[in-house]
C-alpha cells in the first residue's frame, strides 16, 4: 500500500476513468412493498412489522400497486422502455437484517430498461445512459453494540429492528460512463443531484440522502488511454452529494497509486467513510458471492398493459430541467444566478414563495441570503431551515406594507426560524412593528431637537445633512421601530426647513 497519492491532475492526465452509479431510492408509498405495514419514518423498533415483513414461516408477499406505478413513472421520466412482462426473483444470501435470508428483487427481467438522463455540468449537457430500473425490498436496520463507534467491527452483539424491512426500493443503474476525464467526480455528483430532482418532481420519494431514502453505490475504474476498461470497484455507503464526488475522486487517486506501483485492482466492495473521505476494502475473504437468483415462486409476473403505461406517462409532471428553464425565464435570471439558486437547493422554495405572493426578486433575496446563511451555520438543508415559503412571503408582505423595515424583518425571521410563530404573530408579540403613529414620533423628534440644540441650529441654517444625527437619536429612542425616511421628513418639518 502506497502512502503518498499522486495529484488529481496528474492522475487524469495519465488515466481515463469509467464510472457507474447504482442508486437505491426508498419509495414514499403508504405501505411496504409486499405487505400492508405502514412505512412512516421513526417509529419505535419493531412496531411496523407483520408476519410478512418479519419473514415468519408461512407468510406470503403481495405486490403493492402504488410501488409498481411509482417505479414505472421513474422509468418513464428516465426515458426507459417499460417491459411488457417482468418478474421478481429471489436473491439468496444470509444476513440478519434480511428476514427471509433472501431479498425479493428483480434480476434478469427488470420492469424498466434502457433509458437516459441528461445532466448539466459546467454549462454542458451530458447524457447518462440508464441500464435498468427495478423494484426490490429494503432490509431492516442493525444496531451494533459494544464496539467503539457503533460500527460492526469490534461490536460484541447486534440488535435488529425490522421496521424498514420491506419498504419499497427502486434501484436505478446507469450504464458505464466513459469519457468523462477529469470531470468524473462532478458528473457523478450532477447525475445524482439531477436524479434526485427528477424523483422529487414525481412525488414518489422524499429522496433525502441523510435519512437514507436515497443511497448510492459508486463504481469506478481506471484505464490507460486506448486500452480496455480497468477492473472496477464498488464503493458503498455514499450518503451525500458531496460524498459522491469525493468517493469517485478518492477511488481514482487510490487506484492510480496502486496501478503506478505496478499493482492490480481487485474487484471488490469498498466502504466510503464520510469523516476521512477515504474508501476501505470490505472484510470478506470470500470470492464473488453466488446469489443463486431464481424466479420468486410466491409472486406472479407483472405485465403492465400499454394503456396503463400510457396513462402514467400522460400524467408525468414537467421534468426538472424543463421546469427550471421556464422558471429562469419567468424570474429573469442569468445562467449564473440560476446556478446559485440551484446550488442552494432553492428552486422549489422560491417557486412556492412566489406562489404565495412574493416577487421573485424578494423570494430569492430571502432564501439565498439570510436563510441560506442560517442553513449553512446550522448544517441543515435549506428546506429544513425552519421557515416555510408561505412564512417568507408573509414576511415580505409586511415589509411591502411598511410595517417592517429590513432590520426588523430579519429579527422577525429569526423568530420564525426559532419556531415562535408566523411573522405577523412575532411582530405583534415582540412589538416589532414600525412606529408610524406620527404623534408618538413627533414627540420623539421634538425630544431629540430639544436635546441637541446645536444640531438643530445647523439644520435651520441649511445644513440639511446634519439631520442624520437627529434621525439616529430618534431611531435610538424608538428602538429602531421607526421608518428612517419618515423621521427625517418630520425633523425637517418641525424645523421648518425645506427638504
Amino acid at each position: 500500500m502506497t502512502t503518498t497519492l499522486p495529484s488529481y491532475d496528474d492522475v487524469v492526465a495519465r488515466y481515463e476513468p469509467v464510472i457507474g452509479l447504482e442508486t437505491h431510492v426508498e419509495l414514499g408509498t403508504r405501505t411496504k412493498m409486499f405487505c400492508g405495514c405502514r412505512t412512516d419514518f421513526g417509529g419505535e423498533p419493531n412496531t411496523r412489522v407483520c408476519p410478512v415483513c418479519l419473514g415468519l414461516p408461512g407468510s406470503l408477499p403481495v405486490v403493492n400497486k402504488a410501488a409498481v406505478e411509482a417505479t414505472i413513472r421513474i422509468g418513464l421520466a428516465l426515458n426507459c422502455s417499460i417491459a411488457d412482462w417482468c418478474r421478481f426473483a429471489r436473491k439468496n444470501y444470509f444476513y440478519p437484517d434480511m428476514p427471509k435470508n433472501f431479498q425479493i428483487s428483480q434480476y434478469d427481467e427488470p420492469i424498466c430498461v434502457d433509458g437516459y438522463l441528461d445532466v448539466e455540468v459546467n454549462g454542458e449537457t451530458v447524457r447518462i445512459g440508464i441500464e435498468r430500473v427495478h423494484m426490490e425490498e429494503d432490509t431492516g436496520k442493525t444496531l451494533h453494540v459494544g464496539g467503539a463507534t457503533g460500527r460492526i467491527h469490534g461490536a460484541t452483539e447486534s440488535l435488529v429492528d425490522y421496521n424498514r424491512a420491506g419498504i419499497p426500493l427502486v434501484e436505478i443503474v446507469t450504464k458505464p460512463i466513459p469519457g468523462t476525464g477529469s470531470l468524473a467526480p462532478d458528473i457523478a455528483r450532477a447525475y445524482v443531484n439531477e436524479l434526485r430532482e427528477v424523483i422529487r418532481s414525481l412525488g414518489v420519494s422524499d429522496v433525502r440522502m441523510e435519512e437514507g431514502s436515497l443511497r448510492c453505490d459508486v463504481n469506478t475504474s481506471l484505464n490507460l488511454p486506448g486500452q480496455e476498461w480497468g477492473t472496477r470497484t464498488e464503493t458503498k455507503n455514499v450518503n451525500s452529494l458531496r460524498s459522491v464526488e469525493r468517493a469517485v475522486r478518492s477511488e481514482m487517486l487510490r487506484q492510480a497509486s496502486v496501478l503506478d506501483a505496478g499493482g492490480r485492482i481487485t474487484q471488490e466492495t469498498r466502504h466510503f467513510h464520510e469523516d476521512t473521505g477515504d474508501t476501505t476494502p470490505g472484510r470478506s475473504k470470500e470470492t464473488a458471492t453466488d446469489y443463486r437468483y431464481f424466479p420468486e415462486p410466491d409472486l406472479v409476473p407483472i405485465a403492465p398493459d400499454r394503456a396503463w403505461v400510457a396513462e402514467l406517462k400522460a400524467a408525468l409532471p414537467e421534468l426538472p430541467r424543463v421546469h427550471r428553464r421556464r422558471l429562469q425565464e419567468q424570474w429573469g435570471l442569468s445562467d449564473l444566478d440560476m446556478q446559485s439558486v440551484l446550488n442552494a437547493g432553492a428552486v422549489e422554495l422560491i417557486e412556492q414563495t412566489v406562489a404565495a405572493g412574493a416577487t421573485p426578486a424578494a423570494a430569492r433575496k430571502w432564501w439565498l441570503g439570510e436563510l441560506s446563511r442560517r442553513a449553512n451555520e446550522t448544517g441543515v438543508e435549506l428546506v429544513d431551515v425552519g421557515a416555510t415559503p408561505e412564512q417568507v412571503a408573509e414576511l415580505q408582505g409586511l415589509v411591502d406594507a411598511g410595517k417592517l423595515n429590513d432590520k426588523l424583518a430579519r429579527t422577525v425571521l429569526e423568530g420564525v426560524v426559532a419556531g415562535e410563530g408566523s411573522p405577523t404573530e412575532i411582530m405583534t408579540s415582540r412589538n416589532l412593528e414600525v412606529v408610524s403613529d406620527t404623534g408618538a414620533l413627533t414627540a420623539a423628534v421634538d425630544e431629540a431637537i430639544a436635546a441637541n440644540p446645536e444640531i438643530a441650529d445647523k439644520i435651520r441654517s441649511g445644513k440639511v445633512a446634519a439631520a442624520g444625527a437627529l434621525v439616529g437619536a430618534v431611531m435610538k429612542t424608538t428602538r429602531g421601530q421607526a421608518d428612517a425616511k419618515t423621521v427625517r421628513e418630520l425633523i425637517l418639518a418641525r424645523l421648518n426647513v425645506e427638504a
Binding site: N46, R48, V49, K65, E157, S158, I302, P304
Partner: protein, 101 residues
C-alpha cells in the same frame, strides 16, 4: 465418476449455513451423488426450445392497493425471538459486513 465430491458437499454445507460433521459429510456425499445421478436424467430431455415453467397458474398483475393493515404489536413480533433486547432481535457479533446495508 461421482457427480459430486466430498469437498463440493462441504462447500454446499457452508453456503447453506449447516455446520455438518465430518461423518455427515461422508454420508451426504454418497447420498447426494446417487440422487444427483438420478435427477441428472432431466438432461436427457431435448428441451432447448421449450420455455421454462416457474408457475403453474397463468396469473399476472396480482397487485394490492396501497392500504395499511394492522401491524403486530412489538410483543407479538418478538414473542418467538430466541433473544431480544431494547425491543430488538439480539444476535451475536456479525463477521461479514460486506452485505450490511
Amino acid at each position: 465418476m461421482a457427480a459430486i465430491s466430498r469437498e463440493e458437499v462441504a462447500h454446499l454445507a457452508r453456503l447453506s449455513r449447516l455446520a455438518v460433521t465430518e461423518e455427515e459429510l461422508d454420508t451426504f456425499a454418497g447420498q447426494l451423488d446417487v440422487i444427483l445421478q438420478a435427477v441428472a436424467q432431466v438432461g436427457k430431455v431435448a428441451a432447448a426450445d421449450i420455455p421454462p415453467t416457474s408457475h403453474s397458474v397463468p396469473l399476472t398483475n396480482v397487485l394490492r392497493e396501497d392500504v395499511e393493515t394492522p401491524c403486530l404489536t412489538p410483543e407479538e413480533a418478538l414473542s418467538g425471538a430466541p433473544d431480544a433486547e431494547q425491543q430488538r432481535f439480539r444476535v451475536p457479533r456479525i463477521l461479514n459486513e460486506d452485505l450490511a446495508s
